[in-house]
Amino acid sequence: MKKIVLFGRKVARGCAEGEALVTRQTLSGWGGIDPENGTIIERRHELRGQSFKGKILVFRGAKGSSGWSIAFHRARLLGSIPLAVIFKEMTSKVALGTVVMHIPAVTNLDQDPLEVIESGDWVKVDGDRGIVEITKRNEG
């Protein structure tokens, strides 16, 4: 199995591994997700109808309302959050949202995670050291 290792910066500590769910688009929190089940509900979003619950969520960044963190905070209390997050673009919304989910998070990777990681790949996130290890689903 082909493994790829990316190095970046810790956003929030902890380690987790699981199946990736990838979007090149930004995500809205309030009005963009359903905290009950972790489903993306934003109209015109490429992941509309899919849930990030129990996945490694790989996405471009956050957009929309300042209810971003509270939407993901509620999802945590309802048990519907991702196992870890990897994102590309830092904003106050995504930083706070990640912190209140209490899950590992990494950014500033040495390769574009949206190019390297595809939905279905197996991904390990080491939030303490800022390392991401990817096992490709379709190769090897």
């Binding site: 963009g32 960044g61 957009k63 929309g64 309302s65 300042s66 106050s92 706070l96 998070a105």
Partner: protein, 415 residues
């Protein structure tokens, strides 16, 4: 962080440090202008019903602490943003008595700890007008973009948890829009079509936000000086389709006396044009309705200014809202008091509409029973109502919306 100021301020500092580290901030900066609040949605209400008291609710949702800590008075000047219901018209909004009682408890708690209960998404319309350079910690994307762009004050888009922490300790991470270098433009937008009405400004903001996402557009080629209602709509639209937290208008906004100043002497990373075709695209993106029978007209997102109340009353005076249609207009409570005095509330009521405060349909999830097809003059409301409420939505001018309210039919079009 030693806890000498009590456990709540210690939790607040711990959260700000975790948040600051996630951002990569080098330090915290003092703030004495915080805008945020305590949620009033079904989830928080359910949590509150099972919690020991409001201190426990604030601990979880405003300090990210599952451990209950006693909440002291706020240290920073703090304004409460928009909430979940109108405290006067909650019954016609379909709000349950238990939710109303929660709201009363929530407001009493906020007053006790010193939060100003102005309950609006537009604090800058009712006296909280930060000065250029002032460090703020605001939530509410439409208020944040107004604060940075139009007023030249400095805030990131904060969240429920970070404003809770900031109000207790008077600090916020020194990151993002608090630093000069992060306030410069990235995208040059060449505007080569007439942008003059409030609707035009919403379309421009919505298109630009969709393209630039969370970056900083510089609008060039604007003729004339847009006023509060126009800039309020533009920013709210750009913050909905994208994540725009700051924009410049050359010759208008305080950090863009020239193109050179807006970009800090740098070359724009990207250039885009905004003309008739782009305007049409924004209009089409905002329209999700096909049924012309409008049963709900929503005005006042962001909350209407006095000028907009004056304008809507000129259209409504002596008219009658259609029997199958509800007209709800939203404004801050202090402006409703003015509308009462000015006779505007009576004009709206006599026409069969309702002037409401403290909330909006997207935030409060409040609506007339059975509503399905909405008309609004707000790009933000048109963006959020379909996913949140499942309404088909028409977008147009204030006049289009009032015509729909009176006739019960949508006849608006892009002119």
């Amino acid at each position: 962080m030693g806890g000498e100021e009590g456990p709540a301020r210690q939790k607040a500092m711990e959260l700000l440090v975790r948040y600051g580290e996630a951002l990569g901030a080098e330090k915290l900066v003092d703030t004495n202008n915080v805008c945020g609040g305590i949620s009033n949605d079904p989830f928080t209400r359910k949590y509150a019903a099972e919690a020991e008291d409001f201190d426990a609710v604030f601990s979880e949702f405003n300090l990210d602490s599952s451990v209950r800590v006693a909440i002291p008075r706020v240290k920073a000047f703090t304004s409460h943003l928009i909430t979940g219901m109108d405290p006067e018209h909650w019954q016609i909004q379909g709000v349950e008595p238990a939710a109303y009682e929660y709201n009363q408890r929530r407001e009493a708690f906020c007053s006790r700890i010193g939060i100003q209960c102005i309950n609006t998404c537009t604090p800058y319309l009712v006296g909280n007008v930060p000065v250029k350079g002032e460090h703020c910690a605001w939530m509410e994307s439409s208020a944040v973009v107004y604060c940075n762009s139009v007023l030249g004050a400095r805030t990131n888009t904060e969240g429920t948890e970070s404003v809770g922490a900031s109000m207790l300790v008077g600090k916020t991470p020194y990151w993002g829009y608090h630093l000069d270098e992060n306030r410069l433009g990235t995208h040059l937008v060449h505007v080569d079509t007439d942008v003059s009405s409030v609707m035009d400004w919403g379309l421009l903001g919505y298109y630009v936000g969709e393209v630039v996402q969370e970056q900083i557009p510089v609008l060039d080629g604007i003729c004339g000086i847009p006023n509060i209602s126009r800039l309020k709509h533009c920013g709210a639209a750009a913050a909905s389709s994208g994540g725009v937290e700051m924009y410049h208008i050359v010759g208008v906004t305080p950090e863009a006396n020239s193109l050179d100043e807006a970009f800090g002497g740098r070359t724009p990373e990207y250039r885009l044009d905004y003309g008739r075709a782009e305007r049409k695209k924004a209009y089409d993106m905002l329209t999700t309705a096909t049924d012309p029978e409008v049963d709900f007209v929503v005005l006042g997102c962001p909350h209407y200014s006095i000028e907009q109340l004056w304008e809507v009353c000129r259209l409504l005076e002596g008219k009658r809202v259609h029997s199958n249609t509800s007209l709800w207009i939203f404004t801050p409570k202090p402006l409703k008091d003015h509308a009462d005095r000015q006779g505007y509330t009576k004009i709206i009521t006599d026409a069969g509409g309702v002037l409401m405060t403290d909330t909006c349909p997207a935030i409060g999830r409040v609506h007339p029973k059975g509503a399905k097809v909405v008309a609004t003059d707000s790009a933000k409301q048109a963006h959020y109502l379909p996913p949140i409420m499942g309404f088909e939505t028409w977008f147009g001018s204030q006049a289009d919306c009032i015509q729909a309210a009176i006739s019960g039919k949508w006849k608006g079009e892009l002119k």
